[in-house]
């Protein structure tokens, strides 16, 4: 763990990733202190300063009702990160458990669990989310639910593949010959070997969840106004291109920075943790 961290910080690319992600997290956590106009996260109207280009007062300009874009982006980060964390916290354990049991036990368990994940995987994720949001109310909570529903099967499949190959390893045979319980073999022997892959995917997925959430909001199905969201900001601003370019460019860059940062870390982790085995 410590070794991984040291390597991560020594490589310039992964260091950049760590710095970008840290910046996003700091902005999101301390939004109340950093944002120049904390109250602009809500439904505020300030027609004196509406649709202003970037200036000393508004670093990234203002939107159509005069809210400070920089402040809104910081608050949008908070929503995006929260969405990402909640989605992963719910979907990863479900996926990991399903994959682990299917991979180790094989037979009927494998058949039932993996066919179920196949069903979920065969539905295009965005379509599933749109369908769910159509049936349910388009709220933040439902957005999270929709994204979670389409996220866990990927973890099930990932862990299933790792567990199935780990199952053939000598240490599993060793534990079986000794007579260790299935619980022990699954959770103490095989699971630790699946974790590097899971952690790597989680890092990469933080970026993807942010993009998916933004896409949903862009389509008007995710976070609802006046709550700030990067996707809806881009969608709204796109109508005023190229004159009011800051309305789209800055939220777009904000998405890029966060996703890029998570991806850099994920790529580095994949290489470091993969090489360790």
């Amino acid at each position: 763990m410590k070794r991984t961290l040291i390597i991560l910080l020594r490589n310039p690319l992964s260091l950049l990733g760590v710095l970008l992600v840290l910046m996003v997290i700091v902005l999101a956590v301390f939004a109340d202190f950093i944002a120049p106009f904390p109250d602009h996260k809500g439904a505020v109207v300030d027609f004196v300063y509406f649709n202003q280009a970037p200036s000393d007062r508004n670093l990234m300009g203002t939107d159509l009702v005069g809210r400070d874009l920089f402040s809104r982006i910081i608050y949008a980060y908070r929503i995006s990160l929260m969405l990402g964390v909640v989605v992963l916290v719910i979907s990863v354990p479900i996926g990991v458990l399903a994959g682990l049991f299917a991979g180790y036990r094989g037979g009927k368990t494998e058949f039932v669990l993996m066919r179920l994940t196949d069903v979920f995987l065969s539905i295009p994720p965005l379509v599933l989310a749109i369908a769910m949001m159509g049936v349910l109310e388009p709220t933040l909570l439902n957005a999270m639910l929709a994204v979670t529903a389409m996220w866990w099967p990927w973890y099930a499949r990932l862990v299933y593949n790792v567990a199935r190959s780990e199952r053939e390893e000598g240490y599993v045979l060793a534990a079986e010959v000794i007579g260790a319980s299935q619980w022990h073999i699954c959770f103490r022997e095989i699971l630790p070997n699946c974790l590097p892959a899971v952690i790597t995917k989680m890092t990469l997925d933080m970026g993807f969840v942010i993009i998916i959430a933004s896409s949903l909001s862009f389509l008007g199905l995710g976070v609802q106004p006046p709550t700030p969201d990067l996707g809806s900001m881009v969608a709204e601003g796109a109508r005023y291109l190229p004159d009011s370019w800051w309305l789209t460019v800055f939220p777009g860059l904000a998405i890029l920075v966060a996703v890029f940062g998570f991806n850099l870390i994920g790529d580095a982790l994949r290489e470091i943790l993969g090489a360790e085995q």
């Binding site: 000598g170 240490y171 045979l173 060793a174 000794i178 007579g179 022997e189 630790p192």
Partner: protein, 268 residues
Amino acid sequence: MTALLSTRNLHKTFGKKRSLVHAVNNVSLDVQAGECLAIVGESGSGKTTLANMLLGVYPQTSGEITLDGQQLPARRTLVHRRAIQLVQQNPLSSLNPRRSVGASVRLGLDVYGIGKPSERWRITEAALEEVGLPAAFRKRSPSALSGGQRQRVAIARALACQSRVVVLDEPTSALDVLVQARVLRLLDRLRRDKGLTYVFITHDLSVVRNIADRVAVFNAGVMVECSDTRRLFEAPQHSYTRSLIAAVPVVTEAEMQLRNTLAEESSK
């Protein structure tokens, strides 16, 4: 004297009807307490299948396995499992890369309830020291160990359970020759010191010659010859045994001569 471990008419088949394979065919053999019996054969000879049945990894199709005169059931109890332990070929895979060396060695102690929980780390460390590793290795990860050290850990894991029979499945074929020599010496010393019984599975006849008391030669699931090591090498009875010995790559003149004599005999 009854044998410690024996098999009678042991059969194992895989597959169904048309693609039926007799992996182990009517094998009856006895392993005496304290001896090292080598099971020799090429791939597909059934030697690993035999080992897996002895260990209870899967049940035999027919025939019986007895330990101390007691028949072993298809579903082994922990008492049965504890008596027969395993050392595998590839130490890289037989130790969990994500668990400490100590955790791997201790597993058997926890499963069989050997010693008080508070004493188990001490027993683990003693087992490591017995195979020539420092007790401090307990906290290391297998990836920090060399191939030879890992194989010592695997041996310590079998020792810690205080088993009576150890099945060694190609324990040195993944090791370099210098490391192999040291591990073989260790195995030999442990057997004498602790009165262990070995079932030594290998394809390497030159190793067998120097470590086994008796040798059973397997070919296509059938035991073709079983005799004292010395006799097997100096006067092999079965033509398959002769061809096996004649194919061993050798390094000295004396070995060359032995091989040539055997080659002549089998061509007669």
